[in-house]
């Protein structure tokens, strides 16, 4: 374990190199006019616009306000997916008949990309909050369900046998044996769901929304305000990363509590 600090520092150094290289290339492309500046603003332009948008409204709201409305939809969609997907997955993992009923249907539906729900979302909800939520739900639901199901289905057989021998009924089996046993798998599923949900959200907002980061970007594109589009992209990336980091922390904490290697 002595090598760890050095390794970590090395890793950070390589990561920084990659990032700098990318920004350097980007600067060169726009500074030397290889790509017209109008279509590819320089990193500094984007940074300046990013800061500008923090306080100045564009398309009806400042960037933090757009992010807030995006995040609200996102939270609803992902939570809805988790609150339906995880229990359903656990139940499918325990009751074979439910597995038999749901799996064929689900296997068909999950290959429909979240974006493919956009026409329906638009028809049913217009630009209301329901549309993006439906699309986020479509993106986040499959990993919630699949991971809860797998986690429950592949609990160590001895633990199920021990619980049955102790006279454990169905409800307690699901809540006290399957759920905790499947928790690491469920948390990984939630992480994937959070990522897919965030991606679906922005896709949805490009089409069915009247506020949010995606909406801001479409409006900017219509005005050929490319720095604003890119500032939106940066914001999306940063928030996505922040969500992932937080969930990773949660996952590691959970594993430590269980005495598992993090």
């Amino acid at each position: 374990m002595q090598a760890t600090p050095l390794r970590l520092r090395e890793k950070c150094a390589w990561g920084a190199l990659g990032l700098l290289g990318f920004i350097g290339l980007w600067t060169a492309l726009s500074a030397f006019g290889i790509v017209p500046r109008q279509f590819l603003p320089s990193p500094l332009d984007v940074l300046a616009r990013f800061v500008h948008l923090l306080t100045t409204p564009f398309a009806g709201a400042t960037l933090p306000q757009h992010l807030a409305s995006s995040f609200q939809r996102y939270a609803y969609g992902v939570l809805l997916a988790a609150f339906i997907g995880v229990p359903l997955g656990l139940l499918m993992g325990w009751f074979r008949w439910l597995d038999d009923v749901v799996t064929p249907l689900f296997d068909g539906l999950r290959f429909i990309a979240p974006i493919a729900w956009v026409p329906f979302a638009a028809l049913w909800f217009g630009v209301g909050i329901g549309g993006p939520i439906l699309i986020i739900f479509a993106g986040a639901f499959p990993p919630c369900l699949i991971n809860a199901y797998r986690g429950a289905r592949f609990v160590e057989p001895r633990l199920i046998e021990a619980a049955r021998m102790l006279g454990t009924g169905h409800l307690r089996m699901i809540l006290e044996i399957l759920l905790p046993a499947a928790t690491p798998s469920i948390v990984s599923g939630l992480r994937v769901a959070a990522g897919l949900g965030w991606q679906s959200l922005v896709g949805a907002e490009l089409i069915v929304a009247a506020a949010g980061v995606g909406f801001m970007m479409v409006q900017a594109q219509a005005n050929v305000a490319t720095p604003t589009v890119m500032a939106g992209m940066v914001a999306i990336g940063l928030v996505g990363m922040a969500i992932d980091v937080m969930l990773r922390q949660g996952e590691a904490w959970l594993r430590r509590r269980r005495g598992l290697p993090a």
């Binding site: 619980a163 454990t168 006290e176 905790p180 928790t183």
Partner: protein
């Protein structure tokens, strides 16, 4: 009351025709409060015998019954101690022991009393709040035994319970089990491949053949133990030195030896 009976039991794994016959015509009766060990070469189906009493697997033919009732599913009247402990890693020691009592819908106060008794019995009082991964293998198996005993089961099924422990811990646990059996006699079906362990612990030892497993002979240890007064010795090594012990052990060894394959495997 807790008697176990195997009546013309066969077990075939895989398809009904062309499957692997694991057990062939097992007949065995274990009386109430009797401690019977089954020894046999690995893969002979001794664990399968236990799993059928537990209700984890149905026999392919014949009947397995406990107290005259045919076994159909697992239940707390037949507590199992597994080789790999099978404790719930997300539950504390206390919660592991308590689960079976909660399933019986016992009131809180009664549960607390029983759990406290089981903790005391297995010397686990200071570890009640620990999680299984914080305990040594020996301690974990104590928890598993406490979890089984607290249910006050009619029969106790132990599947190589000390097989995963190191030699020293194993000896301590064997002595402990003898102590338990004296304080609190139970019908026990004990599976092991360790001959000494079987002779030291059991009233009778059933010896199985290689696959397909059959019961080759059943030795009565009780009469020798009483006649030679093994119980005056506190420690397992003193019993193991006795001529009567050595004699029985050798007898079982020879019987098992005959079951080894042509390559001695």
């Amino acid at each position: 009351m807790g008697s176990i009976r195997f009546d013309k039991v066969d077990k075939v794994f895989g398809p009904v025709s062309g499957g692997v016959k694991a057990l062939d015509d097992i007949n065995l009766e274990i009386a109430d409060k009797e401690f019977v060990a089954i020894v046999g070469p690995s893969g002979c189906g001794k664990t399968t015998c236990l799993r059928m009493v537990a209700g984890f697997e149905p026999p392919s033919a014949g009947i397995v019954s406990v107290n005259g009732k045919t076994v159909t599913s697992p239940g707390p009247d037949r507590a199992v101690v597994f080789q790999q402990f099978a404790l719930f890693p997300w539950k504390t020691v206390r919660e592991n022991i308590e689960l079976g009592l909660r399933n019986k819908n016992l009131p809180r106060a009664e549960r607390d009393g029983l759990v406290a008794g089981a903790l005391r019995l297995m010397n686990l009082e200071s570890h009640a709040g620990a999680f299984p991964h914080q305990l040594s293998g020996g301690m974990q198996q104590r928890v598993a035994i406490a979890r089984a005993y607290v249910l006050d089961p009619e029969v106790l099924l132990m599947d190589e319970p000390f097989g995963a422990l190191d030699a020293q811990t194993r000896v301590v646990m064997q002595e402990e089990l003898v102590r338990l059996a004296r304080v609190n006699p139970r019908t026990v079906l004990f599976i092991t491949h360790a001959v000494e362990e079987a002779v030291y612990l059991a009233d009778r030892v059933a010896i199985m053949t290689r696959r397909p497993g059959r019961i080759k002979e059943v030795l009565d240890i009780r009469s020798v133990r009483a006649a030679e007064n093994w119980d005056r010795h506190e420690r397992i090594e003193d019993v193991m030195d006795l001529e009567s012990f050595v004699h029985l052990r050798t007898q079982i060894w020879k019987s098992l030896r005959e079951e080894k394959g042509p390559h001695g495997a």
